[in-house]
Amino acid sequence: MPIRTEPVTINLGPQHPSTHGVFRLRVTFDGEEVIDLEPVFGYLHRGTEKLAEERTYTQIVTLTDRLDYESAMSNNLGYVTALEKLGGIEVPERAMYLRVISVELQRIASHLVFTGFFLQELGTFVTMLMYCFRERERILDLFEMLCGARITVSYMRPGGLTQDAPSDFWPALNDFLEDMPGYIDELEELITRNEIVLSRTRDVGVLDPEVAIDASISGPILRASGVQWDLRKADPYEIYSEMDFEIPIGATGDCFDRYIVRLQEMRESVKIIKQCVDKIPDGTVKTDGAFFMRPPEGDAYGCVEAPRGELGFYIVSDGGISPYRCKIRSPSFINTTMLRDMIVGGKMSDLIVIFGSLAVNMGEVDR
């Protein structure tokens, strides 16, 4: 004679501290256990794709900043990559190196934000968040040197960058690269062997590699499931083919692996930036005329490995000054699709941890 309990349906969000923006989950609980879940998006819809049809090609760069506002550089790069494919624009080599440096810095910053908020959701009051943001602040300072802005950078332009790095950027970057491995070690010692973190995240929200591939999951979440897939190696863009780095993968595909993969990716990013600093050539960073571009009729799909996964832009041009269509394949949106399968059957706390481990950014989901 089991005691029958009433299922309770709760609207988790749109205003909730753990939903990373305005995201609504209709969750049905049986006590603490999640028995059903339905994600509802659209609360942050800003019509980026439609707005892009009304902007010139260069103006769209500013729109991409706002997609995944934690990694604006990567979004810029994804867009300009597609545009350069479409317009057949050659990019100067120095610009490519600077692009890789800024994108990898952005990856570290984004993963730091992920780590901070992930642990915040695990319940470390705000300590880890502050530590991670302290480290991220230095990256933002570097961005301020590069392009005058810290979050919404709009640094890249079709055919290059807005401007070269200032002279004081390089010593600051070197300082940061020296300190960063120490920061990562500290984070690792603080968290990675922490039994509470382990017991909260191990074997929680396991995503099998088959399921992940079928659902077209990408980025660290895919790699945490053990699939060694990274666009930087699989389809090298910019100068990644010259770089020497590893693709960290996880063992089981649980929340802990998603965290540890990101942590190791930060180390790899530091490695990549160091190589870039060593190899960067002199020269210009801009292509003349690309600011006022009018690409030929046709279409192009350009994609990069953004911190959250494969970020793709599909641009159709009708020969005018603005694209006929600009489709954005945002990694967060596609990674969110597996939410129900991962969460149902877990506890409420697991729900928060799993959702946090996906590092979904609502700006990107709703576009």
Binding site: V197, S199, R200, G226, A251, S349
Partner: protein, 396 residues
């Protein structure tokens, strides 16, 4: 003159004519309650400042520092802000229950302080069932949380309250058992008796009891790593989600009283209360020890994440409960062995021997328990690349 009920009563009844003892009794009681409660509220307000500053430094930031010297007036500003805020409650809320909830949460915290011996005695003198009183009274705060959760008719609050009740009831058991060890050793249920018998602080004599007590107490006051009642990342505040204004202020006050209460009990039962070298007065010793205890609690709060609800319950019954039983068994056996028959207090040398044994047993017990409870699945695994999408193969 020491502030105590007896002194006040003697003073008041000296002024009043004979035959009015009951008026003297009431006056002195009300006066004492007024003084003590106001002092405690003041101390709790100061403690919020302390907690926020220390927590801020732990988190490598500054904490409140703008308003007044070193931000000391920040609690005042907070109180003014909270009092002047509109008191909103949901339309379908149970008004009476939700109004009483903050009071039900706050009163037990004040009641505990009535029997804490700051000096040689508490304000009210000595209660012979002090430890039991503490257990009974601290168990009452369940009702505050429950009434808050139920009365505000909010599902988050409800979930928080349900978690809270399940957790508080479970953790009362190891907490009581941990206190029982101290009671056995002291041979007295009264807090003054426990203080008097601590020629060696019980922290040294029974580390296991201290450990169990501090863990269970941080669960009882729902602080990290057991703060799932509020769990701001999951329940957006838990039972006080729907509270605002003065009710919320009282909830916060009760919440900030909790570490003070715990620190006071810890100090009395395990750190030797107001005992200490005579260089500084006993009350100062008491405050120093209590501050050290609150610092320890803050340190833990600043570092550890939160456990999941089933893990918290499992930890109470599978981890703390056996440890507490072991502690009681150990202490009882030692008392039986060392104190064979006599009723004279145990000497310091014997206590030292006992503590040696206890530390050893504590280490072994924790080691065994950690390896029994610690799941081997938590150990890192070696990642194997899945053959499904081999990037290197495709790149070639």
């Amino acid at each position: 003159m020491e502030l105590g009920f007896r002194n006040i009563h003697a003073f008041v009844s000296g002024i009043l004519p004979d035959g009015l003892e009951w008026i003297a009794f009431s006056i002195s009681g009300i006066f004492l309650a007024l003084v003590v409660i106001n002092a405690l509220v003041g101390v709790a307000a100061l403690y919020t400042w302390f907690e926020r500053r220390v927590l801020g430094r732990f988190q490598s930031r500054l904490g409140p520092n703008r308003w007044g010297p070193f931000g000391l007036l920040q609690p005042l500003a907070d109180i003014i802000k909270l009092i002047t805020k509109e008191d909103i409650s949901p339309n379908s809320a149970d008004r009476i229950v939700s109004t009483l909830a903050p009071i039900a949460l706050l009163v037990p915290a004040f009641l505990v302080f009535a029997i804490i011996p700051f000096g040689t005695n508490s304000f009210l003198g000595d209660l012979n069932v002090g430890v039991l009183f503490i257990m009974g009274v601290t168990g009452m705060n369940t009702f505050g949380i429950f009434m808050g959760g139920w009365g505000s008719r909010n599902k988050y609050a409800m979930l928080g309250a349900m978690r809270g009740v399940a957790m508080l009831v479970s953790y009362e058991v190891p907490m009581a058992l941990a206190l029982a060890g101290a009671v056995l050793l002291a041979g007295s249920l009264s807090l003054s008796g426990i203080v008097a018998s601590q020629t060696l602080p019980f922290l040294i004599v029974q580390p296991l009891g201290f450990l169990v007590f501090i863990i269970a107490a941080s669960a009882e006051m729902s602080r990290a790593p057991f703060d799932m009642i509020e769990a701001e990342s999951e329940l957006t505040g838990g039972y006080h989600t729907e509270f605002s204004g003065i009710k919320f202020a009282i909830f916060q006050l009760a919440e900030f009283m909790a570490p003070l209460v715990t620190a006071a009990i810890l100090t009395v039962v395990f750190l030797g209360g107001s005992r200490g070298p005579d260089l500084i007065p006993g009350q100062v010793w008491f405050i120093l020890k209590a501050l050290a205890a609150t610092f320890l609690l803050l340190w833990i709060r600043a570092t550890w994440p939160r456990l999941r609800v089933d893990q918290i319950m499992g930890f109470a019954w599978k981890g703390l409960f056996p440890l507490a039983l072991l502690n009681i068994f150990l202490i009882a056996a030692e008392i039986q062995f060392f104190q064979s028959g006599g009723i004279e207090p145990i000497g310091v040398s014997t206590l030292l021997i006992m503590s040696g044994i206890n530390w050893l047993v504590t280490g072994i017990a924790i080691y065994i328990l950690a390896n029994v409870l610690g799941q081997p699945s938590l150990q890192p695994k070696k990642p194997v690349p899945s053959p499904l999408a081999n990037m290197y193969a495709e790149a070639e």
